[in-house]
Amino acid sequence: MITGARKGETSWLRRLAARASSKELAAFVVPGPEVARAFGLDLGAAGLRVVPSPRHASVLVVVGGLPEGLRDAASVIYAQMMRPRAVLVLGSDTASPLPGPDVSAPMDQESLSAAVARLRRAFAEGAWDPGVEDYAPEAAATETRYTCPMHPEVVQKEPGACPKCGMDLVPREVSSGESDGEEEEEEEAGELHHGSMDHGEHGSGGHEHMDHTDMGFMSMVEMTRDLQPSGDGLRMEWVEVPFGPLFPGLPGGLALTFTLDGDTVACVQSGSAVGRGGGCLQGVPVDDLLEHLGRIDPLSPVAYRVLALRAVENAAGVEPARATAYLGALEHERVVSHLGWLSSFGYLIGYEWLHRRAAGLQLALLRDDTGEGETLWGDLSDLLQRLRGATLLRRRLEGVGRLRTARAAEYPGPVSRAAGLPYDVRSEEKAYQDLGFEPAVQEGNDAYSRLMLHLDEMERSQEIVQAVGSVSAPDDLGVQDGISGEGDATVETPRGPARLRVRIEDGMVRSAELETPSGRHAQLVEDVALEHEVADALAGVASLDLSPWGMTR
C-alpha cells in the first residue's frame, strides 16, 4: 500500500487505473528541480515527468532532505496532490511531517532508476486500499472567522454584528497558523477576496443588509473614491498572491509574495524559507568546516568549500598555494551553475528548447568530472552562439528587470558587472592574472544583459578549465590540528563574491561571519519587480540568479 492510496477495495477497473498510474508518474520536486539537477540527478531519464502544479502530480520527490523552513509548505503541497499519491525521498530516510516515504534511495542516478521501478510497482499494487488514513497537516488547517466587510480589522470567532458600524459579519476562512500567508504554497493562500474589500474605507459596501434604494444611486466612481490609486490612476482591487516558497519557475525556497493590482505588481515581500540561520558555524571543529560550508548551498558547493579552505589557510598563516590549485574546479562549477540557472530561466520564460538543452548539458558536465569532454565544450559553444543570435529572446528580455546604475553598483557581482562595472574578485588573484583573466562586462543593466553576462562568463570559465586541465575539488584542509588564528577570505562564487571571516581557537571555530551574494542581492527583488507586469517581474527576479540557500531567513 502506498501512503497516499485511495480508499476502497480494488476491482478490475481500479486495477487498470492503478496500472495506468504506475506508468504515468508525474513528479513535483521539493525543494526544486534545479536542486535535483545540481546533484546530478536526471529525473526525466529515470521516468519521472516534472509538472508545475501539485494537482497534476502523483509523486512528491524530496531531494536531499527536507529543510525545516519548507516543512509546512511541503505538507500543504502533499495535501493538494490528488490521490493516489506517494512520497519519494532521495538522500535521506525521512521527510517528516510528510507521511513515511514510500520509497527512499541514495542520491545517484542508478539508485534513482531502481527507486522509480519500485515506485511503479507500489502504485500498480497499492493504489487502492480500504485501510488508508487521511492526511491532514496542521499547516493546511483552516478555521472560519467572521469579519466586517467594511472594517477588515474586526475579526471575531462568532457571528454577530460589527461593533463599529453595526453591519452583520461575513464568514471567511483563515488558516489557523499565527500569521496569514506564511509559508503556504501556491493556490491555497491565493484567496481572492471577492466579497471583501481590503482597501476600502468607502461610503457604501452594498452588502447583504444594505439596500441601495436607501442610499440613493451611487456610481462606481463615487464608490471607489477612497481606494488607493495605482500608478496609472485606476483604482482597482488588490490581491495578495504568494509566489513561493515552492513555485515552479523560481528557485526552490524563495518565498515571494506579490500584491497584484490587476496584473501589475504593487507590493513585494520576499524572504527565504531555506536560508541558513546566523551563527550555524559556531563550535564546529575545523576539520569539519569544509563539509559544513559545502552543505550550505547545494547549488554551488565547490565555491564554498574553496572559501572555507582559503579562510582556514589564511587563519593558519599558510601560503595560499593550494587554494589556487582549485581554479579548475571553481570555474567548472561556475559553468555548471550558470547552465542550471539558464535551464530554470528558460523554463520560466517558456523557452522549452533552452530549458532542455541547458539541463542536458549541465547533467553531462556533472557526470564528466575529468573536464576533458571535448564534445561537451563544443556543445556549450553551440548553445552560446544560438542564444546570442536569438532575436526573440532579446525582445522578450530587453528592458525587463532594469535597475538604476547607482543601485546596481551597491551589489558587486554579476548584477553590477551587467551594469558596466567590472568588479570581480578574481581579477585580484595572481593565479587568474597569470592566465590572463579579464572579467566579463555588459552594459544594459537589465535581464537581457544579465543573460549575456552569464554566457560570457561561461565562455571564459571554459577557457580557464581547458587551460588548467584538472577539476578536482578540495576535500581536505591539509593543515595540522589545533591551529588558532583569524582568517578572512573571499571567493567569487557563481552568484557573486562570498566572504568568510573566522576566528579559530585550538582547532574549533569560535566565531564566524559569512556574507553570501544572494543575501545582499535579495534586496534588489523589490527594485526589480515593483510596478511591472507579473511575468516581467518574475523574469526580473529570476535574472538576479538568487540562491535562497544563501539568503538569511
Binding site: 487505473a17 492503478a18 506508468k23 504515468e24 508545475p52 497534476h56 520564460i349
Partner: protein, 299 residues
C-alpha cells in the same frame, strides 16, 4: 452516419496529436501514452477548490470541448464528409472559436484562484491580438472561392493551393491559429513557469482529462481549418480524400507543436503590438493583393 464518421476521425486525430505532443516533449513515440494518461487521470480523485464559482468552473472544460467540436463540424474531411455544410461555413468556424475565449475566461474566473484568474485575463488580451488575424485571411480565401461554403473553398483550390497564392494570409492564419489554441509561444494562459499551469492548474482528475482532450481537439480543429482554407483540403492524387486531409492536418499539427519550443513565450504586449501594428496592415495588404489578382484574372 456521416456525423458519426467525422466525429470518430476527429477524436482519432486528437489522439494522434496527443501522441505527437508526447513525442515533442520526451522524444519518444509512445502510441499507448495518451490512453494510459487518460485512464490514470480518470482514476484519480477529483477535488474542487474551496470556493469556486461552481457553474463556471464546471462549464468551462465542457464549453472548450464543445466549441472545438463545433468548429470542426463545419470543416469537410472529404467531398461529402462534413457534419454541417453551412452556407456561412467559413464564418461559423470563427463563431465557434470565439467560445474558446469564453471557456477560458470561465476557467480563469471559476476556481477562485489568483493564478487561474491572471491566466484567464491574459488570454483575453491575446484574443484582442489574434481575433482580427483569424478572420481577415479567411476573407481573402472566401474572395477567391466566391463563397463562404467550406467545400467550395476547397474546390476552388483545385488548380493551386491558397498557401501558394496567398502566402501572407497563410502565415498570418497559421500564427493566429497557434494563438487560438494557446500553444507555445502563445501559451500565456497556461504558462507553466510563470503561473504554475494557469487555467489548467486548478483542474484535476476527470475534469483535467476533459480539459486536455478539449485542447487536443482544438489543435486538430485548427489544423483542419488551416488545411481546408490554405492547403487544399482533400485534394491530391492517389489517396482518397479523407486520407489527404488527415495527412495534411497531422503535418500542420506537428509543425504547430514543434515550432513553438524554439522560441520563448511572447509577452502579452508584444503579441498585441505585433498583431495590430504589423498583422492587420499585412492582412489588409493580403486582401488587397487577392482582390487585384482576381480582378486581373477576370478581365
Amino acid at each position: 452516419m456521416t456525423v458519426f464518421l467525422v466525429l470518430v476521425m476527429l477524436f482519432a486525430g486528437a489522439y494522434l496529436v496527443a501522441v505527437l505532443e508526447g513525442w515533442t516533449s520526451t522524444g519518444r513515440l509512445r502510441f499507448a501514452g495518451p490512453f494510459w494518461a487518460a485512464v490514470a487521470l480518470l482514476g484519480r480523485e477529483s477535488i474542487v477548490p474551496r470556493k469556486p464559482d461552481r457553474v463556471l468552473y464546471e462549464t468551462a472544460p465542457v464549453l472548450l470541448l464543445v466549441s472545438a467540436v463545433l468548429a470542426a463540424a463545419v470543416l469537410p474531411l472529404g467531398p461529402h464528409l462534413v457534419i454541417a455544410d453551412l452556407a456561412t461555413g467559413a464564418l461559423a468556424v470563427n463563431a465557434a472559436l470565439a467560445y474558446v475565449m469564453v471557456a477560458l475566461v470561465m476557467a480563469g474566473w471559476g476556481p477562485d484562484g489568483a493564478y487561474a484568474m491572471v491566466a484567464g485575463w491574459r488570454f483575453l488580451g491575446q484574443l484582442v491580438a489574434y481575433s482580427m488575424l483569424i478572420v481577415m485571411p479567411i476573407t481573402a480565401v472566401a474572395m477567391r472561392a466566391g463563397s463562404l461554403v467550406t467545400t467550395t473553398i476547397v474546390e476552388s483550390q483545385a488548380g493551386i493551393w491558397n498557401a501558394l497564392t496567398q502566402p501572407l494570409g497563410f502565415v498570418l492564419f497559421f500564427l493566429a491559429a497557434m494563438a487560438v489554441c494557446f500553444l507555445p509561444p502563445f501559451d500565456l494562459p497556461t504558462a507553466p513557469g510563470e503561473l504554475a499551469g494557469g487555467i489548467e492548474a486548478e483542474y484535476a482528475g476527470p475534469r483535467l482529462a476533459v480539459v486536455r482532450l478539449a485542447r487536443m481537439v482544438l489543435v486538430v480543429s485548427l489544423s483542419l481549418a488551416v488545411t481546408v482554407f490554405f492547403l487544399g483540403g482533400w485534394l491530391g492524387p492517389f489517396l482518397p480524400g479523407w486520407a489527404w486531409t488527415s495527412l495534411k492536418t497531422l503535418v500542420v499539427a506537428a509543425t504547430m507543436l514543434t515550432a513553438g519550443r524554439y522560441v520563448p513565450r511572447l509577452r502579452g504586449e508584444h503579441v498585441m503590438e505585433w498583431g495590430w501594428k504589423l498583422g492587420i496592415p499585412l492582412a489588409l495588404v493580403n486582401i488587397f493583393w487577392v482582390g487585384i489578382t482576381l480582378v486581373l484574372r477576370s478581365m
